[in-house]
């Protein structure tokens, strides 16, 4: 069905084609009056069969576009050419009832023996626009999610994560404002982060967490209480948000979502997003937002776990440090006692025995062997005490590590049949390894090595022991290998008189290294340990405080 079917004479097949077009087609004469409209045009714009004929074409445009159109039309009549209308503009059409619709229009001049017309082909693009809008929204949501997930991966602690989440929701997600808040121990609400233009709104919220109060049943209180997201597609029309309607309206808030954030499955905070658009929280968007809250909660759990871990590691390290410091102090005290009492007394005895020997030589030569025997006993006890002193005293940390090892081995195996060696393996041929260690590390590494060597001397019944030092990573690895009887069943723990590997392991871990006991190939034992050149700073592991 069409109107003005005789506008340029015999239409013939052309008229049928125009009538069959899925688009609206309108012919306009040189005066701007509609001369013809096809059935689709009548249906789209809501006109009866003859209503349009003779009307100015501007009736198909909303008022604000009509005036401008009249001028354009005059220009087009002077220079007619086929072209689309309103390039780069959103063109709107007006239905008979005054409602508008987005359209695309192309114009074709037609000249026949009866006169000139402009043929307007009009496509209704409402559906396409709706799809485009939806796609843009989905795109924006995905972009937001991608940015948020990146923030979760990069954030160093909860506070940074909250701030980034808010910023991204506003900048990428197009929300009017974002707010992260937590429930305090006193039952009030505390702001952790905000972004956007709603800080004044947030300041005036005056929320309660008491369910018997009208201000205690809003989205935040409900989300914290139930652990469920609260959506408000029409904030002003929502009865649960009544106490805030006036305030929200003055800030242009139209819709909102409140997401619970959980640590160890307990909702401890909320993320509120306010929008100036009537957001339809459809299934797609709800899934996105739920996943966002889940990811943030997951990151919070991670922060809490690593903070706990760091705290534990710190506690252990503090304890070890105190134990070791106490040990060093105690050792120094015993060393001083041994020196000042026993060693000095024996030194005096040794000297006086020397005098006595000379006198005995003169007056009773037959007693000389007894005195010499005594002198030897005193000398051997002195040697034992000197070993004890050497073991007790703080190792000298001035020299290179391998030098210190040689000195220790020389001392420990003085007057012993055990053959020993200390060798340094080069990392690359001709390259002198650097064996200077930080003082604290050197001290612990020497203690470990001396304990391993002392165990060899006392328990291994070995004939030889080899110490090999080499640079590994940014530290030094030491192996102490003997050919003795191998580690006993108690070697992994400390038993009286035998310092097990546990003490050595504690010492190594104290400075950020490791120590283990390996049965040597064949017979005997290898104690292997590694220490870093510098002791690590344990505090760098600690994250900020966690919420809740």
């Amino acid at each position: 069905m069409s109107a003005g079917s005789t506008w340029f004479g015999d239409q013939g097949i052309l008229g049928d084609i125009i009538e069959a077009s899925p688009h609206s087609v309108v012919a306009v004469d040189t005066d701007g009056a509609v001369a013809f409209a096809n059935g689709q045009a009548l249906r789209t714009f809501g006109y009866g069969a003859t209503e349009l004929i003779g009307s100015p074409v501007e009736v198909l445009l909303p008022g604000h576009l009509a005036d401008r159109h009249r001028e354009h039309r005059t220009g087009f009549a002077i220079h007619p050419a086929s072209r689309p209308m309103g390039i780069g503009l959103e063109v709107l059409g007006r239905r008979h009832d005054g409602s508008t619709l987005p359209v695309e229009v192309s114009l074709t001049p037609v000249v026949t023996e009866r006169g000139s017309w402009v043929l307007c082909s009009i496509a209704d693009v409402s559906d396409r626009r709706a799809t485009e809008d939806r796609l843009a929204r989905v795109n924006r949501d995905y972009r937001t999610m991608a940015a948020l997930n990146q923030a979760i991966v990069l954030a160093q602690g909860p506070q940074e994560l909250y701030a980034e989440t808010c910023r991204i929701a506003v900048e990428e997600g197009g929300y009017l404002g974002a707010w992260v808040a937590r429930r305090t121990l006193h039952g009030s609400i505390e702001t952790l982060a905000t972004a956007g233009e709603l800080d004044d709104y947030i300041a005036q919220l005056d929320l309660s967490l008491d369910p018997s109060s009208p201000r205690g049943n809003g989205p935040t209180a409900t989300a914290l209480r139930t652990g469920q997201a609260v959506y408000s597609s029409d904030f002003i029309g929502d009865t649960t948000t009544t106490p805030w309607h006036a305030l929200a309206a003055s800030f242009g808030i139209v819709s909102s979502v409140t997401l619970p954030l959980a640590v160890a499955s307990q909702p401890v905070a909320v993320l509120c997003l306010w929008s100036a658009e009537p957001r339809l929280f459809d299934e797609h968007l709800r899934a996105q937002l739920t996943s966002l809250a889940g990811n943030v909660s997951f990151a919070l759990d991670g922060f809490a776990a690593s903070a706990r871990l760091a705290r534990l590691a710190q506690q252990r390290s503090d304890l070890l440090r105190r134990v070791v410091a106490a040990q060093e102090e105690e050792r120094a005290r015993i060393a001083a006692d041994v020196h000042d009492d026993s060693v000095q007394a024996l030194a005096a005895v040794d000297l006086r025995l020397g005098l006595l020997a000379r006198r005995v030589q003169e007056v009773a030569p037959d007693l000389v062997p007894s005195v010499v025997q005594l002198q030897e006993t005193v000398s051997s006890v002195s040697t034992g005490l000197r070993h004890l002193l050497f073991d007790l005293e703080r190792p000298d940390t001035e020299s290179d590590f391998d030098e210190a090892l040689r000195e220790a081995a020389g001392h420990l195996f003085e007057h012993s049949a055990v053959r020993w060696s200390v060798s340094v393996e080069q990392r690359e041929a001709g390259q002198e390894p650097s064996l200077r260690l930080a003082d604290g590390v050197h001290l612990q590494a020497m203690r470990i090595a001396k304990e391993a060597l002392t165990n060899v001397r006392k328990h291994a019944r070995a004939s030889s022991v080899h110490v090999v030092v080499r640079e590994v990573d940014d530290g030094v690895e030491v192996s102490v290998t003997d050919d003795g009887v191998g580690p006993g069943p108690g070697a992994l723990t400390s038993t009286p008189g035998h310092r097990g590997v546990a003490t050595m392991r504690d010492r190594a871990e104290l400075v950020g290294g490791w120590c283990r006991l390996e049965p040597a190939t064949g017979e005997g034992t290898t104690v292997r340990f590694w220490v870093p050149r510098e002791s690590p700073r344990m505090l760098s592991l600690t994250h900020g405080a966690t919420p809740g």
Partner: protein
Amino acid sequence: MITIRVVIADDDDDVRDALVEVVGADPRLVVVGTARSGDEAVAVCAATRPDVVLLDVRMPGGGPEAARRLTGPRPAPAVLAISAQTGSASVVAMLRAGAVGYLTKGRLTDLTDLVTRVAEGHVVLAVPGAADALRQLLSDVRDQDRTDVP
């Protein structure tokens, strides 16, 4: 025969008395003074001009500091360190400070012979850490030479 003048510095009364007796019993030696600390040793030596000082390493103001102060002014006495600390680090430190001998406490059977040797200009290192100490000193000297070459 010229007797060798000896000062004995040790903070332990028992040890000091025993040293005095042993040294005094040898006709080649004469004890010209005793001291209980590094400071006292410096003062006694300035007053008595001994040939040899028996210097305890582990006593108040003793050790390398006392050795340096004793060997500073000329003519300097020969400083003979005596200690139960026999690690090479302690030996190196005393030799650097000017000591020409280092003896082990508790094994001083031939003490007076060693004192006369030191007085004659010998170096006496009767201590387990001596060999390591010498190696360390020599390698320090080599390092010094290397860095001195332009």
